[in-house]
């Protein structure tokens, strides 16, 4: 090494923290979804895993699985020998009707899930880890406390923000924006107008991925007589062929009939099922628009963001636009670039933009 690289410390004086100069700061943006958890990090890592956590049911299972805890798709696959948790599923982290034991189990699973997500982002042992976690807009206060508690074990400082907010913030669209976040269990609609959204800016619908799956199951039963399939197969078909476009490649699938693989054309069934979420979503948008300052309603209609795993249905943006045209007079929908990472990317940006003093006072 003929040249010594000496870090320029001059611009770090205004950051307020001297310790950080030596250690380095890893920011994490985490999207804690009910079905998927995604992380993007300021070291360039990005990971996504299904929000499932499983613990071996007994000693024999533990011996066979050779692990104390399994995550994501692996946990789902081996669910028969596991106590399976979906710790972020609706209402799971709050007390409600559950037994104390279930609650404890879910909190532990949430902790393990967050720890695993952070581990996958490969933080260095000598770095400070500051994380912003985007949580579903409607997450209850109990839920939020449980998430904080779970995250504290793995990070130096943590903040929560609403997930649709982080999606919009990540795209620098802060003013007069409507965010549609289509997940598995729920579709979250959120109206943004410069400050943090509150209760009245948010709407949660059941018209989401799972609802499409349920509908597609019915459609397939009708159009593929005697064919056998599971909900997982239905979901796979949707993710492969999902579309609401009129002009689209034919969706041909092989399904067993009395054990014999048989080919079916499911194009219309898939389109019909996928289309079922368009109307409820536009109806929800309409409600958020109607209760907004009339002067800015047109602008709001013109700035609709489409995000979430469930938004990957082909032609969905155009279909929502068309429906907005019909029922609201106008509308423009912008599909975000990485639907799976939109929330995490935005949370990462929030983490980055947060002043040092804030991070420190939460440590």
């Amino acid at each position: 090494m003929s040249d010594l690289e000496v870090l320029d410390n001059t611009e770090q004086g205004d950051g307020g923290t001297q310790a950080a100069v030596e250690t380095g700061v890893l920011y994490l943006g985490i999207d804690l979804g009910t079905s998927r958890t995604s992380v993007t990090a300021s070291n360039g890592e990005r990971v996504t895993l299904a929000s499932y956590v499983g613990y071996p049911k007994d000693v024999v299972s533990r011996k066979l699985l050779k692990k104390d805890v399994l995550f994501g798709d692996e946990a789902l696959q081996k669910r028969l020998s596991l106590n399976l948790f979906r710790p972020l599923a609706k209402g799971v982290l709050k007390f409600s009707e559950q037994t104390e034991e279930d609650y404890e189990g879910n909190v532990r699973a949430a902790k393990d899930l967050i720890r695993e997500a952070i581990r996958l982002a490969k933080p260095r042992a000598d770095e400070l880890v500051y994380a912003v976690i985007g949580v579903p807009a409607e997450a209850s206060i109990n839920n939020r406390e449980a998430i904080i508690e779970a995250a504290r074990e793995s990070v130096d400082s943590v903040m929560l923000c609403s997930e649709p907010f982080s999606v919009a913030y990540g795209l620098d669209m802060l003013d007069d924006v409507l965010v549609i976040d289509i997940g598995a269990g729920t579709t979250d609609l959120c109206r943004m107008h410069g400050t943090m959204p509150d209760e009245s800016d948010q709407l949660t619908l059941d018209a989401a991925g799972d609802a499409v799956d349920a509908r597609l199951e019915q459609e397939l039963a009708a159009c593929c007589p005697n064919a056998q399939f599971t909900r997982q197969m239905v979901k796979n078909i949707k993710e492969r062929f999902g579309s609401v476009s009129e002009r689209v490649d034919e969706a041909q699938v092989m399904l067993p009939v009395e054990g014999k693989p048989t080919q079916f054309d499911v194009t219309d069934a898939v389109r019909a099922a996928c289309h079922t979420i368009v109307e409820p979503i536009v109806e929800g948008l309409g409600r958020l628009i109607a209760t907004f300052d009339p002067e800015f309603q047109e602008r709001l209609k013109d700035r609709v963001l489409l995000a979430g795993g469930g938004s990957q249905i082909q032609g969905l943006d155009k279909a929502i636009e068309a429906q907005m045209q019909r029922s609201l007079g106008s509308g423009r929908v912008i599909r975000i670039e990485e639907p799976m990472y939109g929330g995490a990317n935005g949370a990462l940006k929030v983490a980055h933009d947060m002043p040092a003093a804030y991070w420190e006072s939460l440590r």
Binding site: D3, G44, R124, T195
Partner: protein
């Protein structure tokens, strides 16, 4: 509190890098992340030399040039070592670098083990031969001493007999002769046994030495095995990927909607303060 932060930010004079549009990660991470000053080592060395000379020359007039030069040299060496150590600690190893080094370590240890086990094999063979040689030598020695011993004894006995025969007759002389013979033979045998024992002991000594070396080699082989095992474990412990940020960043002065974003950060923080610390501060 937020006021003070905002004012602080306002007062800071930061370079204003060009701002690009779009929500890409590049934009997010690229901006102020990697500001490095490169200091040329030769320049650094020269500067230290000058600084030391200037500092000492003024104060210690009685010090000769040679001593000052020596101090400058040690200072340079010390400082460079410190800087290098510091620089490494700050930068850490990249993952590739780490894996590369781990691989190199592993290969070195494997080579060591290879060498050690070859040595061990050779030693074991030598010891085997030695033991066999020793046993054989012992047998031969014993047989030889028995054979030659018997013959020698006879020669000796005859010599003594002839010595006494010259005197002729006396009956107690016969008795005396017998006793002298026994005495002599006994002492000769003891001497001979001593020699055999010494030779055997010498052989045993060399075998023991071999055995000691074997124990040592075996232990060093165990150590390399242990090292290998640890290496395998170390490989699984990912050292992680370093963040592109060394410090907390915060909003840029030239950020679009700076005021709105500052406000939003404050709102998020306040909500979290209430959530996490029950609203104190």
């Amino acid at each position: 509190m937020f006021e003070s932060i905002r004012r602080k930010k306002g007062a800071a004079t930061r370079p204003a890098p060009a701002r690009s549009e779009g929500g890409g990660e590049e934009k997010l991470l690229g901006r102020r992340a990697r500001r490095l000053n490169l200091v040329n080592q030769a320049h650094l060395v020269r500067s230290i030399d000058q600084a030391v000379r200037a500092g000492l020359a003024g104060r210690l007039t009685e010090m000769d040039d040679e001593a000052i030069a020596e101090i400058a040299r040690t200072t340079q060496a010390e400082l460079l070592t410190l800087l290098k150590a510091g620089a490494q600690a700050v930068r850490g190893l990249s993952k590739e670098k780490f894996l590369e080094e781990a691989e190199r370590d592993r290969r070195r240890i494997l080579a060591e083990r290879e060498r050690a086990s070859e040595d061990l094999q050779a030693l074991l063979e030598q010891v085997d031969t030695r033991r066999r040689e020793m046993l054989q030598a012992r047998e031969e020695l014993e047989a030889e001493s028995r054979r030659s011993g018997d013959a020698q004894d006879e020669v000796l006995a005859q010599r003594i007999a002839s010595l006494f025969e010259e005197e002729d007759g006396a009956s107690d002389a016969a008795e005396l002769r017998e006793r002298v013979t026994d005495l002599l033979l006994g002492s000769v045998r003891t001497e001979r046994e001593k020699v055999v024992k010494a030779q055997i002991a010498e052989n045993r000594q060399s075998v023991e030495n071999f055995e000691r070396r074997i124990t040592k080699l075996t232990r060093s082989l165990e150590v390399t095995e242990e090292e290998l095992r640890r290496m395998a474990e170390r490989k699984e412990v990912d050292p992680g990927v370093a963040s592109v940020f060394r410090t907390v960043q915060g909003l840029n002065e030239d950020e679009d909607d700076l005021e709105a974003k500052t406000e939003m950060m404050a709102t998020i923080f306040e909500a979290n303060l209430v959530l996490q610390k029950g609203g104190g501060a």
